[in-house]
């Protein structure tokens, strides 16, 4: 009798930690309720909605050109690709014949956006894990891309360069030259970054074996993008459902099989190399032609349903429009990659330590406005 009582008293107690909405490691306003026993995490429950702006409801009363402007606020780091997704859906619905010039330019700018997003991700992952200088190196290279965008598209972050029918204006004469300069510069920098973080033994010990996600779990949880590819699940939309100019170029899909944080990290670094290869294949041969196709001022989609998938820097974005023939969609749904990626956080963080949670979240690369919409 007395022995059981003593054992009851010695049991350790779980406690709650709130990684609150304002926290340097959560990349946006995300609240995580952690149930922790000592240092081991027992449960992670995300609390969303801090930046919910009801984009889907707003889309039901906006015209299609206005909807494009709402989408780049969702995942603002791959804003160009979000815009492209909506424009492609509308153009496929109207069965417009988009000129090759538009397709190639959209692909080039999409790949530049991907590199910019991964540069920022790389800087932030170093900062989260303690190597505070990497933030500045990542942002320095991102600045060069932002300058290219500013010259051609008029804005640095939320570009709105794509419109249903093509592009808003033609590319600036300096675009090709500056992009080539950037590629030459970045090809020298990326091996430096590899040596700084990837080869560092402290970094490898923090990332290897942490946050393991098996391939079946990745598919079941709907993981896409680098999260899925880090577990060996080949999910690149650019390969399986090609759009714009992706069927005309050749590139390798970055795949790793271990499924831990280090594998997801390597996938993104490889993706940056592949993006540079894609841009190099296209940048010298931009076809001549129109930069847009004329559409009506008031676009009305025919009655029916239309779905378009694209590959953003985070994963697979899906745009689903249900139209009843009027000038506003009846229902517009955005299938955001971060939403599914966040749902597997509980699965991979349980049983690890808090430091591992920070490393796993950094490699999931969540952008909260993308999840909250």
């Amino acid at each position: 009798m007395e022995k059981t009582l003593l054992y009851e008293e010695l049991k350790s107690q779980e406690y709650f930690i709130n990684m609150g909405p304002q926290h340097p490691a959560t990349h946006g306003v995300l609240r995580l309720l952690l149930t922790v026993d000592g240092e081991i995490i027992k449960k992670v429950e995300p609390d969303l909605g801090y930046i919910h702006r009801s984009i889907e409801k707003m889309c039901e009363r906006d015209s299609y050109q206005q909807i494009v402007h709402l989408t780049d606020r969702m995942d603002y780091l791959s804003s160009h690709i979000n815009n492209e997704a909506v424009c492609l859906t509308v153009e496929n619905a109207l069965q417009l014949d988009i000129p090759d010039r538009v397709k190639v330019i959209r692909t080039i700018i999409g790949e530049l956006t991907r590199i910019a997003s991964h540069c920022l991700w790389w800087g932030v992952i170093g900062m989260d894990l303690g190597a505070l200088s990497t933030y500045f190196y990542g942002f320095r290279d991102r600045e060069m891309i932002n300058d290219i965008f500013e010259e051609t598209c008029g804005a640095r972050l939320t570009m709105n360069y794509n419109i249903p029918g093509g592009l808003m204006f033609d590319i600036h004469p300096n675009f090709v030259k500056r992009t080539k300069e950037f590629i030459a510069h970045f090809r020298n920098k990326l091996p430096e970054y590899d040596r700084l973080l990837t080869g560092n033994i402290i970094f490898q010990n923090r990332m290897k074996g942490v946050g393991i996600l098996s391939r079946e779990d990745a598919i079941s949880f709907g993981a896409s993008g680098p999260v899925g590819r880090g577990s060996g699940y080949s999910c690149d939309v650019r390969k399986h459902h090609p759009y714009s100019a992706y069927d005309k170029i050749s590139f390798k899909e970055a795949l790793q099989t271990e499924g831990d944080s280090f594998a997801r990290y390597r996938v993104r670094i490889d993706e940056m190399w592949e993006s540079m290869n894609i841009i190099e294949q296209l940048i010298d041969n931009i076809p001549e032609g129109d930069y847009k196709v004329a559409t009506n001022a008031v676009i009305k989609l025919p009655k029916g349903e239309f779905y378009q998938k694209v590959e953003t820097a985070r994963g697979e974005l899906g745009v689903y429009i249900i139209s009843t023939g009027t000038k506003n969609p009846y229902r517009m749904k955005f299938r955001s990659p971060g939403f599914s990626n966040l749902s597997l956080l509980n699965h991979i963080a349980v049983g690890g330590k808090i430091g591992d949670l920070v490393a796993s979240m950094a490699t999931l690369d969540l952008v909260i406005p993308d999840i909250d919409r």
């Binding site: 303690g130 190196y137 973080l197 923090r206």
Partner: protein, 354 residues
């Protein structure tokens, strides 16, 4: 001759001429204490500025360079700001211990500063158990950290203090052992004797291989003992709060903050004294001007401080279990082996002497 002018002897003689012996003795002690307090304050302030400029240099930006010439008055401005801040305190905190904790860390840092040989004559306290005294002092410093975390009555401060305490006492072992390896060469714990032995060549050269290993271990363990990156999980901003000094603000926070920088200076100073020949110039080039020794000492120390800052801004952090594993499974066995290796080397007479 001006070059042979001994500042301490002159002041000592002047004071004893001026007043009776007892009073002069007391006045001398007060003077030395004031000088050391000034060194503590000024060194602390300028080390903070140095850290910010070095960090900015690594991060491809300029640091503070507006306040005063090249930003030299920046930390002065920060100190004034901190002094004018409200001294908050939680209601349920243990008042006495909460106020006492910062003083532990300051007093231990000051005590450690007093034994360093800045030059042949500028050494306040040349005790015959010098190295032993230094390691004993750093053990007392842990009390300040644990008291600070406990008395804040804050769950996260306590976790931070516990982690920090465990880290410090683990790595003290490695620091002590690597210093012991060098003491084998000098056959004395007294700091001025250690410097005298290095007139035949700095200890890191005299002991070649085991001395270099001891130096590497010393730098790693020293960085860990002062809770600097890459071992600063305790104060990691992207994790929980700010560690054991979460509940401190204003001047008390400034004490902890300055003490961390002075501890870094102390580790670098120990490294300079034991491995690189304190105030001795390489190959004795300025031996005839004794007071230049201060600049040699400061130069070498600042180089080691720069090395520690370089670590901070380059490497990611270690997780707390990896930290402890590093010490107990890797550094300690290597240290013990190195000790035996150095002993063997000395016995066989294979050390390099000039």
């Amino acid at each position: 001759m001006f070059l042979k002018f001994s500042i301490t002897k002159t002041i000592h003689d002047w004071l004893f001429e001026l007043m009776p012996a007892g009073v002069a003795g007391v006045v001398e002690m007060i003077l030395i204490a004031v000088v050391y307090l000034l060194i503590f304050a000024v060194a602390g302030l300028y080390l903070v500025l140095l850290e910010r400029r070095v960090a900015a240099w690594f991060q491809l930006r300029l640091g503070p360079n507006r306040v005063g010439y090249q930003g030299l008055l920046q930390t002065m401005a920060d100190a004034l700001k901190l002094v004018s801040k409200e001294l908050t305190g939680t209601e349920k905190a243990d008042k006495f211990l909460y106020n006492l904790a910062p003083y532990f860390v300051i007093v231990t840092s000051l005590m450690a500063l007093s034994v360093f040989p800045f030059s042949e004559e500028f050494q306040a306290f040349d005790i015959n158990i010098g190295i032993f005294f230094l390691t004993a002092i750093s053990s007392i410093g842990v009390i300040g950290i644990l008291l600070g975390g406990w008395s804040s009555n804050n769950k996260f401060a306590l976790i931070g203090a516990m982690r920090s305490g465990v880290q410090t006492i683990s790595y003290e072992l490695s620091v002590g052992l690597s210093l012991l390896t060098m003491v084998l060469l000098t056959e004395s714990l007294q700091l001025s004797e250690i410097v005298a032995v290095q007139k035949n060549g700095w200890l890191i050269v005299q002991g070649h291989i085991p001395a270099v290993i001891a130096f590497v271990i010393f730098m790693i363990a020293g960085t860990a003992e002062t809770n600097r990156a890459p071992f600063d999980l305790v104060e990691a901003e992207s994790e929980l709060g700010a560690g054991f000094h979460t509940e401190y603000s204003g001047m008390k926070f400034a004490y902890f903050f300055l003490a961390e920088f002075i501890n870094m200076f102390i580790i670098a100073a120990i490294g300079t004294t034991v491995f690189f020949g304190a105030w001795l110039s390489p190959f004795g080039i300025t031996e005839s001007i004794p007071w230049l020794g201060v600049f040699w000492f400061l130069g070498k120390t600042l180089l080691l401080v720069f090395l520690m800052m370089w670590f901070r801004w380059t490497f990611p952090r270690l997780r707390v279990d990896q930290l402890l594993r590093l010490e107990w499974k890797y550094l300690l066995p290597i240290n013990l082996f190195n000790l035996v290796f150095m002993a063997g080397l000395i016995w066989l007479g294979l050390t390099i002497k000039f």
